[in-house]
Amino acid sequence: MSDILAAAENVSKKFRQNPDFAERLAIRLGAAPEPPTVHALDGVSLSIARGEVVGLVGESGCGKSTLGRVIGGLMKPTEGRVLHDGKDIALMRGAEARKMRLDTQIIFQDPMSALNPRKRVAQIIGEAPRVHGLVPRAEVAELVQRLLATVGLDPAMAERFSHQFSGGQRQRISIARSLAVNPRFLICDESVAALDVSIQAQVINLFMELRRSFALTLLFISHDLSVVRHISDRVVIMYLGRVVEVSPAGQVFEKPLHPYTAALLEEIPRLDRRGRRFTAIKGEIPSPMNPPPGCHFHPRCPHAFDRCRIERPALVAAGPGQEVACHLNMGKGLAHLPIQQGD
């Protein structure tokens, strides 16, 4: 199991507004409703092997960013464990915790707010290695120059402020900032979603280059299947706080197992299907405050039957390297068409 760099074991995350004293009193007296609980993650298990690029896909609000932050150690899970190198990060202390903290870096979505507007690029990138003593003070400037060159920026720009850069350049600065602490694991939380398509391609290529030259493991979170397809070894599909399918990247596009994955793939614009009308998946994503019972996807699933409305499908192996959480075809999803309901 030493092959697994990071893993989430049955992780749940609930967000609940903490009522203050007056609100608690009002609730006790029946004058106010209980504050709603948001189930952002509901029993998610996921393991990421060393050197692997995992794409995490889902609609907005399905909990993929929360999962990224939980695996990255920035949020504590409500239930379940997060393991790094086989050790529970909640139990790490001192030097071990610090090493884990620096080993795992998150690249955020919005390049505008991810950089401190009052700092110069050299400070933004150089602060963490200087504070942690990763390089001698005299060599920090040199490190910054080298990192800027690594992410494809002119090292002469080190003295500028972040607002003097374009979105793509800022994202490169964020990447350089993360690389400055020698991470092994990068979590890219919608890191290219805010960029123009042409810039997206450049930044994705940068990620792939860095992955090779720094032997990085990547968790690439996106709502865009075509971006994920380009770079991932393995794709994880999430729906409303649960993992519904895990497949090797090639398989998932050829032979989707979950009806939700199939519906998502239908919507990727393709040249050979010009002129086709787009039929959005029917209905809205249900509210995570009040998720439907059984399989979360059943209200929108064209193949749903009685069992889907009652019992939560487990994530089980359904093919070579593929896992799916669906009751169809005895838990193998759409593997053997035509579809057979039940078992």
Binding site: L74, S113, A114, R118, V131, H132, R160, F161, V181
Partner: protein, 297 residues
């Protein structure tokens, strides 16, 4: 290129540019600078030390503005009942008023900022405790609280400062907390946590510098408030002791003889106080316009 240069400049340059663009604010700033310089240099530029009994002559008392003294010099703003040169007394009074006001303002800023930042960063029970206390403080009338403190602790410059800080820190705490909450929600704070930086470092190196604009504005205006509040307390006779007269105390002293027609003893210190507080407020208002993040490009 010009635009990038403009956007890349520091806060100080932007403040200077913004103040210069408004003639009203430029004049107000000039007045502030002159008054502060006069207060600092008072012992050097005042014709006499009004609190050195050897330099004042009781027979020169109650002279109207422009009178000649017995030694031949002129009292351009008249003298008070003790024969002090009003101009000198006002310079020394300005010195006292400004130092009490600025000290109280700065102390309130430091304490309020620490409270507001902790409330925003730690949240939960700490935040509830601090912010409910702030609400309580803001609910009391300033002068009432200051009066109570001075009645309990007695007179003295440091006691006045204590009273002013006690009634003013809550304004800073509230402003800093709301500014800090906005900043904490931004990704760069989470990125800093991700880089393993310590809480004090994130608070003071990342969040605080981004909360400075509203702090500077409130700080300026609160200094003006502190000066006014101190003048009020001194006028009421419970502020500074008679040996350290501030502008407020000068006004109070002159007030006793105002109806006898000796207007200059309270009107001139009053005018000086008015000009001082007014110009600080004008500068503060302009700073608010310049530093408003919504006007920032």
């Amino acid at each position: 290129m010009k635009l990038t240069l403009f956007r890349g400049e520091g806060m100080l340059v932007r403040v200077a540019r913004g103040l210069r663009a408004s003639p009203k604010a430029s004049i107000a700033l000039l007045v502030c600078v002159v008054l502060i310089a006069a207060a600092i240099l008072a012992p050097l530029i005042a014709p006499q030390n009004p609190y050195d009994l050897l330099q004042i002559d009781i027979f020169d008392g109650k002279l109207p503005p422009g009178s000649a003294s017995r030694t031949g010099s002129h009292y351009w703003l008249g003298t008070d009942t003790q024969g002090r040169d009003m101009y000198s007394a006002m310079l020394y009074g300005l010195r006292t008023s400004l130092s009490v006001g600025v000290t109280a303002g700065v102390l309130a800023l430091v304490i309020g900022t620490a409270m507001g930042l902790s409330a925003a960063y730690f949240g939960g029970r700490i935040e509830t405790l601090i912010m409910r206390f702030v609400d309580l403080m803001l609910g009391f009338p300033t002068i009432l609280v200051a009066l109570m403190i001075l009645v309990v602790f007695g007179q003295g410059a440091w006691k006045v400062i204590l009273a002013l800080v006690f009634v003013q820190w809550a304004y800073f705490a509230r402003a800093v907390r709301s500014a800090a909450l906005v900043e904490i929600g931004k990704d760069y704070v989470e990125a800093a946590r991700c880089l393993g930086l310590s809480s004090p470092r994130i608070l003071f190196h990342h969040i605080l510098p981004n909360c400075l604009p509203p702090l500077i504005v409130i700080g300026t205006i609160q200094v003006a408030h502190a000066i006014t509040a101190e003048a009020t307390l001194s006028f009421l006779g419970i502020g500074l002791p008679i040996t350290q007269p501030s502008l407020g105390l000068l006004i109070a002293n002159g007030y006793q003889v105002l109806l006898a027609g000796l207007y200059w003893m309270s009107v001139y210190p009053g005018l000086l106080l008015l000009v001082l507080v007014f110009s600080i407020n004008v500068v503060g208002d302009r700073l608010r316009e310049v530093l408003n993040p919504r006007l920032e490009l």
